[in-house]
Symmetry: C2
Subunit: 383 residues, 2 copies
Amino acid sequence: MFKILHKECQTQARTGVLKTPHGEVRTPVFMPVGTQATVKTLSNQELIDAGAEIVLANAYHLYLRPGEEVIREAGGLHGFMNWRRPILTDSGGFQIFSLSTLNRVKEEGVEFQSHIDGSRHFLTPEGVIRIQSALGSDILMPLDECVPYPCEKDAAEKAMVRTTEWAKRSQRAWLSLDGSSGEERRNFLFGIVQGSTYPDLRKRSAQDLLELDFPGYAIGGLSVGEPHAVMVEMLSETLPQLPEEKPRYLMGVGLPADFFEAVSQGVDMFDCVVPTRNGRNATVFTFKGKLLLRSARHTRDFQPIEEDCPCYACRTYSRAYLRHLFKAEEYLANRLASLHNLAFFIRLFRLMREAIEESRFMEFRKEFERNFEEANKSESDGQ
Amino acid sequence: MFKILHKECQTQARTGVLKTPHGEVRTPVFMPVGTQATVKTLSNQELIDAGAEIVLANAYHLYLRPGEEVIREAGGLHGFMNWRRPILTDSGGFQIFSLSTLNRVKEEGVEFQSHIDGSRHFLTPEGVIRIQSALGSDILMPLDECVPYPCEKDAAEKAMVRTTEWAKRSQRAWLSLDGSSGEERRNFLFGIVQGSTYPDLRKRSAQDLLELDFPGYAIGGLSVGEPHAVMVEMLSETLPQLPEEKPRYLMGVGLPADFFEAVSQGVDMFDCVVPTRNGRNATVFTFKGKLLLRSARHTRDFQPIEEDCPCYACRTYSRAYLRHLFKAEEYLANRLASLHNLAFFIRLFRLMREAIEESRFMEFRKEFERNFEEANKSESDGQ
């Protein structure tokens, strides 16, 4: 499923290619988040133009609405969205524990109330695999128990042990699916490492999952409020435990600084709502730092967001126009800022891959951080 | 400025071409409304793909935000929006009287409070021409006094007389502009017929404006709540007063039934927020009637909005997917429905022009109405 193309010598960074039923994905990769079977505000063509090779969707959300059976009838998510490239679906464990109310975890599964209409539901690891099978995902994630930050060690351990137990059951359910058998498996189920901020729990979680021999491993439960240094430490505790030849996916992360750190430690896959969420809030990324488009400084700023960015927003519109759209609460603003941010994130990953291939990842990181972080430090970009 | 290409014999319908500084516009034409210098939710490329040859913007809105001087610095609206085809700007008379509060009409102009921040403003006919000159419009509209429906005859007459008086002053202000002089005028100022629902007032308004010899005439103050039959009557009282060789613009109208009626009476130009506003509310137009995309009947409806529609929404997505997006309150829904509706309206006008050229406008109208209106009558498209 995964082939490493190039390993850096200075760092653990590597480039590779994920082979999925709907095509190949070059890693390290940023995966745009399409929670409800749509990357917010953007069309498929815009995702393709931005260079997206894979998108995420969320089993919890789609189970609640429109229901996985509707999507199965549409030919799976690929048919329903008419997105023909790979799709990874998150189980929604994170959402069940963060969005829904009154959730109760039992050995069998988790009971919760829908965040949409308050209806009661009970989902098991097996059920979540069946949902993702109906969705036709290329890469499936098992149901996991996500704890908030900070979390007492006892609770973190219990959740970690349960996550591993559920991973076993998920794998069994997945193996019983039609699509999982034979030489050419139609899709892939990853394992998820948990353990909050406790190095020994993270280590144990990874080791227990290794016995199950998943085709890829995700690191969950980070970027949930802990300091950046703690995230870095957890990565350096976890990653050496994972088999080098398999893809590693850092869930829900993050910002450019996180990417550089995690890629240098050998992470291959990322997803985050930042490009679209920040875009909708008028914050755009450039290689010279972030811009707050609502700021009065952009009133007569007739240059594009970023001069050499090939995205439609930058080729067509000025910061002054975008500021006007945001101030006037025009939908087009959200679209254009989301589009640019996504193009920026995907371009950043392409440049990281090129730097890894040319064994100059550290230099690229330093150069990026100098231009990006320094710009933001030196500016007081008030609204 | 205006050349009639073909006149029908059965009706007063005609095709023509408007020649503006930013290119030609084939009539009858539907002009998408871009009140705040953006056709809500849509990019320029989408407008071009839908076949839009001209867009509207609104002087009142743009004067308040971002201010006409910002737009002048950006190279006028064409530079600010990066829209290189013709632009017609409405003066905003209608908006001053409908959106702002505490407006007081004096002979000199109108005092009002901004609907955005309550700030006080005073606009004169001359000021509104200067604003539109800063915006760089191809076609300007003079400040008019719009009365609501219903309106006492005394008040309607006063407003009509004032509108004509303001039209004179607007024309004087316009003639003093750089762009208005010489053989090749850079832009055009239309006159606006008012008179509420009183045939004699409409007639007098038209006749008084004729003396000013505007290059085109608009009919204002209709589609403000009066019955369709009253609008039809006012058109038939007004249009014969207007010179045949000049373009006629029916402001703020409307729906397909209105277009067919008005075009058959000789109207050339239309604008309306219906395609985008209805799109945002999940109502889409097809040649077989309207669809309410939130309806449960579309849950598993995997066909496009309209089978033979060339728009991106129809080429890419199903009704079931669009329904899901609307139920999930996803922005993309508003975009796709607006895009389809605009493509539908513009396609309808193209087909009307073809029917006029081939002298079968009545047949086309009957066929359209049979398919469109009957479909909606026979269906109870409940949510």
